[in-house]
Symmetry: C2
Subunit: 260 residues, 2 copies
Amino acid sequence: MAGSRLTPSRPCRKMVAPIPSPFPSRSDPLPMDVTEKAQTAARGRRIRRENVERILKAAELVFAEAGCAGATMADIADKAGLPKANLHYYFGTKEDLYRAVLDNILRLWLDPLAGLDASADPATALTAYIRAKMDASRLRPNASKVFANEILHGASQIGEFLAEDLRRLVDRKAAVIEQWISEGRMAPVDPRQFFFMIWSMTQHYADFEVQVRTVLGRKKLTRDDFAHFTAEVVRMVLRAGGLAPPDDPVSCTGGVPGES
Amino acid sequence: MAGSRLTPSRPCRKMVAPIPSPFPSRSDPLPMDVTEKAQTAARGRRIRRENVERILKAAELVFAEAGCAGATMADIADKAGLPKANLHYYFGTKEDLYRAVLDNILRLWLDPLAGLDASADPATALTAYIRAKMDASRLRPNASKVFANEILHGASQIGEFLAEDLRRLVDRKAAVIEQWISEGRMAPVDPRQFFFMIWSMTQHYADFEVQVRTVLGRKKLTRDDFAHFTAEVVRMVLRAGGLAPPDDPVSCTGGVPGES
DNA sequence: GTCTATATTGTGATAGAC
DNA sequence: GTCTATCACAATATAGAC
């Protein structure tokens, strides 16, 4: 399940771990009745699944708040309601746990973009994409923060993901934008810069949430706040792509370009 | 010099420091000839200034690469070419050093925005602002990364800066945007979301540089790359604000809005 | 002011009883 | 599978000779 697309390279910091501890495998050497054994195994799997889930959830929170190096296993264990040793039982090392958290996040990242389809209407498709990204920022801000932190510090764990999976997907989706442009349905933008715009704007509301909140003078961002942000982002991005919605009061005001 | 706008609160992590070590003050108790003493003091100040500068530069790099918690005094000392103990001599604690680095950065942050003037032409003024921000991303990427990392993890050090200085400045500059809108010189955007757009797009090229580079298949971003990014960002932002440059081939294509 | 040597402790990881 | 007790180490910070 975990570690599929991740580079098993550099840890958060130079860490202790002189011995590469192998992942512990389950073994039941005790002789038992068959049905009884099956029941025990089933319960064991359920407990494992629940614990893994709780650990991953707590880890995402702590990694988001403190970063990879700043996070401590003790803190994660506390928030998961389990003793620290259990984290090592399930995940081996802190780095392994960090990669497992990241691996969960990468799925969130690719799925919305994969939906962009050339046969759809540009404004409709882009609006849906932006909404999906804004929903992700609202509902999974910690996932976004962990991802941002990983990129910010060099993407040592997900470098391969960026170079392979993401790059290929972006190449395909850039072709979609280019097709729209060549059909005259969009302004001629650099497709990749256009994606950077959408990513940075939408993720900003998760990653820089403190700044957004403070500048707006809010104690907490509500669902209504996010609805407003989303509407504004959609409007601005569509206009940036030459896709002004018809209900827009100002459609096209002339302006003087900057001193080139 | 340092620590003017910074909240002296939570450290990067729970740190050792049980004793609040006071900042060491200079003292010259040795009896000396007056001119000789002055010369020694002058040379001392010069050495101090140079060392402080080297330490701050190295610290900015290391804090950007590893984050606040992940950075080590030993690593900073290595990159500064000084023994570790000297860092503590000049800055006391790691947290103090981190705050000094941040304090340098805050200036960079406010200055370009402060230049926005209501009497100027909107497109010209915004173009200049975007260029200044893109130049900052190109020339001081590590400063941007340290700032992003600080916000990402809760802004425990610069919370006061955000709530006071930045918020006040944004309030003033939002009024500028609103004036332009009321004069019909810009599309009616939420001024603060408009600023978020500019900040996130421009800082993206520093903070997410690895991702930008990888998606584009570049080994390194050149000055020409940045010139292209800047031109695209300017075009998109101006269009988003309803300020289409006249040389833009697509001025205003109709589009279908998303399913509301 | 400089820098080696060291005190101290937070933290990742493991052993081993239950 | 669970969890207490413990180890080993790395990182902050300081003492004190130069």
